[in-house]
Amino acid sequence: MGTVLTITMFSLMASILMTLVRALKGPTSYDRILSVNAIGTTTVVGVVVMGFLKGRPDFLDLAVVYALVNFVATVAILRFVEQRRLG
């Protein structure tokens, strides 16, 4: 089972790398926000897979928190880009 989980982890990391290239290239700020949001979603899945790979189910709590923080961060960055202020 560990082999399948490792392959899944590597493909998730490759996806994150490709999305990171788009986040660095832009060209608009919305491309960057979209890429960072996709990276966050993939990272949540990666944390869960890593927890199963290492046999530590505590990682699931981290994944729950990361999912919520990712959503809040995306909406906050969007509001900042849209209105040039927070609040």
Partner: protein, 144 residues
Amino acid sequence: MEWNDYLTGVFLALGSFLALTGGVGILRMPDFYSRLHPAGKTDSLGQLMVLIGLCFQTSDWLVLAKLGLIVSFLMLTAPTATHAITKAAWLEGLRPWQRPGDAENVYTRKHPDKRAPYFSAAPKDPLASSTSAEQGQQLEASDE
């Protein structure tokens, strides 16, 4: 290998494939609105497949509950974030990309902008205005 290992393998392979295609799509699609497609759909389905596949690897109900919680959170927040990004980009003035050879670009013609080619100050809702103009022509034709 038990039956649940095979099931997990199938789901994880599907999820890995979808994650990879999502990454390639985000990297290679031509503009922002087409990049929304791999980012919004492929990633959501990919994470759903991976997390469903991992559900067969445990018998602990607490782990299953947390996995279900993560799936529901992601399925709620990922489309919401994608929708918010799209709406913000449209209201900012970002318009869909078209090939240079295309004659009719309803979004960018007659409205050059210093932020071109990525932004253009098009009318607020070009589709609505064009449809109302067509309706007006139809009304005139019916009057004649």
